[in-house]
């Protein structure tokens, strides 16, 4: 074997190994962990949604999550009865059949009467909180942050004790993409998140994936590309740790003890990001207004 052939073979082998690793589950599957799926901007009813849903279903065999959070725009365009079938019930049928619980937040494309649609688990409310293990979720309506909602949020955050605190809603507080950060929503929510030690925030609206460097101690993710896609839309920004904007994606998340493990996967099954987020109350490197050093692996 010539040196060139040996080199080519080695490169090919390494490439295969990277490919296999990229398709491996990188979440620890710890006993009694809280496991969930994160999807955003899903309701297109097109091939992009169906192919991403098929990949989610495949990965659920490796990572049996029990519930999902939806980051809004659950339904684009018309919301006739057949649209609920084509844009939600059919693509995620195996998950629904398997009793995976979907917990949606309202996006700007969603009719507010979605709150009465039982499979979205709004319980008839625009915003709500629910608990899984020792994780407290806050599903907000960022389309209409009236004083009533903000007062409710403050009260709920105040009484949520030492649980993990995860907020999710549609409009990102930080993003480099097309719409950019929703500054007024940020100004309304961020002080509360900071005051009551929210750990992680998930948002959609931008049709791609972004992981933001911790801002004031809070980890932000944008996952608005689980069906819609705005290709090559990530802009240069000091706030963006990494992103993925060349295909659709979804996130798998596992929380165990003081660690949140995440893995972001593309429509074709490639891992595009993964890492560990420590619980905020155990992080010691946080000072007001100073970002934590990211405990993340690429």
């Amino acid at each position: 074997m010539t040196r060139l052939k040996r080199f080519t073979a080695a490169v090919a082998l390494a490439w295969c190994a990277v490919g296999v690793l990229a398709q491996n589950l990188q979440l620890p599957l710890k006993a009694n962990s809280v496991r969930f799926l994160v999807i955003g901007d899903t309701g297109t009813g097109d091939a992009g949604q169906y192919e991403t849903a098929a990949q989610i279903i495949k990965w659920r065999q490796k990572f049996p999550f029990t519930f999902a959070i939806m980051l809004g725009d659950n339904m684009y365009g018309a919301e006739r009865p057949q649209d609920f079938v084509n844009k939600f019930e059919r693509p995620y049928k195996p998950l629904l059949d398997d009793k995976v619980e979907f917990n949606a937040a309202l996006g700007n494309h969603d009719d507010q009467n979605q709150i009465f649609y039982k499979p979205f688990n709004y319980g008839g409310k625009r915003y709500r909180t629910f608990k899984k293990g020792d994780v407290r979720f806050f599903a907000l309506d960022s389309n209409y942050l009236d004083p009533e909602q903000l007062q409710w949020l403050e009260k709920e955050l105040q009484s949520s004790g030492s649980d993990w605190k995860i907020a999710y809603f549609h409009h990102p507080l930080y993003s480099s993409a097309f719409h950019g950060p929703t500054i007024e929503v940020r100004n309304a929510l961020e002080p509360l998140f900071q005051k009551y030690y929210v750990d992680v925030v998930f948002a959609g609206h931008e049709h791609l994936y972004e992981r933001i460097y911790p801002q004031k101690g809070i980890y932000y993710f944008v996952e608005g590309g689980s069906a819609k896609l705005r290709e090559n839309d990530i802009r240069k920004s000091a706030e963006i740790a990494t992103g993925f904007d060349t295909d659709r994606s979804f996130m798998l998340v596992e929380i165990s003890g003081d660690e949140m493990f995440f893995q972001t996967i593309s429509r074709t099954g490639q891992t595009v990001d993964s890492g560990i987020v420590p619980r905020r109350k155990v992080r010691t490197d946080l000072q007001p207004g100073r970002a934590a050093s990211p405990a993340l692996r690429p």
């Binding site: 365009g77 018309a78 919301e79 006739r80 009865p81 649209d83 609920f84 079938v85 700007n108 494309h109 009719d111 507010q112 009467n113 979605q114 709150i115 009465f116 649609y117 039982k118 499979p119 709004y122 319980g123 008839g124 960022s142 389309n143 209409y144 942050l145 009236d146 004083p147 009533e148 903000l150 409009h171 719409h179 950019g180 950060p181 929703t182 500054i183 007024e184 929503v185 100004n187 309304a188």
Partner: protein
């Protein structure tokens, strides 16, 4: 005597604009009180009408049937339209109230920076090009513009299921349960050319 002189000097040295501003504010508050009370009365009347329509079509509990949700939204809208058959622009937002709301919104916009204004315009850009009208169903296949939280904080509160929304430059009152436009206030949002430019990002 010396004390009196000092007090007089202090009083005279008070910046007169503060005094006149205080008087102006007091008079503005009293001139706004009546239209805002009237607005509340009209909102309450609409709410009573909404409840009457709900009595006709029945309440809605969470359901697995999207058809039930769509049918009920439509039925509620039709019942309200029938109860307000002659409704016209200004029935809920009377002209005097409209002037107050316009001032609040214009003042608020004048204090926002470029980034916030860009967000607001961006939300409008996603909307369909339509002229909102009283008793019109909000176009079901189109998004709703995110309502700026800072404006919301300054406007009179609305009871559920009423909400404020912007459609281009109009402020609409929308019944979110019936997806119906209840009233329209044109020119509520300042024209783009009237907005400040070059201001730093809003905080």
């Amino acid at each position: 005597m010396v004390r009196i002189t000092v007090a007089l000097v202090c009083l005279l040295s008070l910046p007169t604009p503060s005094v006149s501003t205080a008087f102006a504010q007091a008079s503005t508050v009293s001139s706004q009180a009546r239209p805002l009370q009237e607005f509340k009365k009209r909102i309450d009347a609409y709410r009573a009408l909404h409840n009457k329509a709900v009595d006709q079509v029945g309440p809605l509990d969470p359901t697995k049937s999207p058809k039930q949700i769509a049918d009920r939204e439509q039925a509620l809208g039709e019942a309200i339209r029938a109860l307000r058959a002659g409704a016209k622009q200004g029935d809920v937002i009377a002209p005097q109230t409209g002037a107050i709301l316009r001032t609040i919104i214009h003042n608020e916009y004048a204090h926002r920076g470029q980034l916030a204004l860009r967000n607001r315009q961006d939300a409008q850009d996603e909307l369909p090009d339509f002229t909102p009208a009283v008793n019109q169903v909000y176009p079901t296949a189109h998004p709703l513009a995110t309502f700026p939280p800072l404006v919301l904080r300054q406007l009179p509160p609305l009871p559920k299921p009423l909400e404020y929304r912007f459609v281009q430059r109009s402020l609409i009152l929308r019944d979110s349960e019936a997806n119906l436009i209840v009233d329209v206030l044109p020119d509520a949002v300042p024209a783009t050319s009237a907005l400040p430019s070059g201001k730093p990002a809003s905080k």
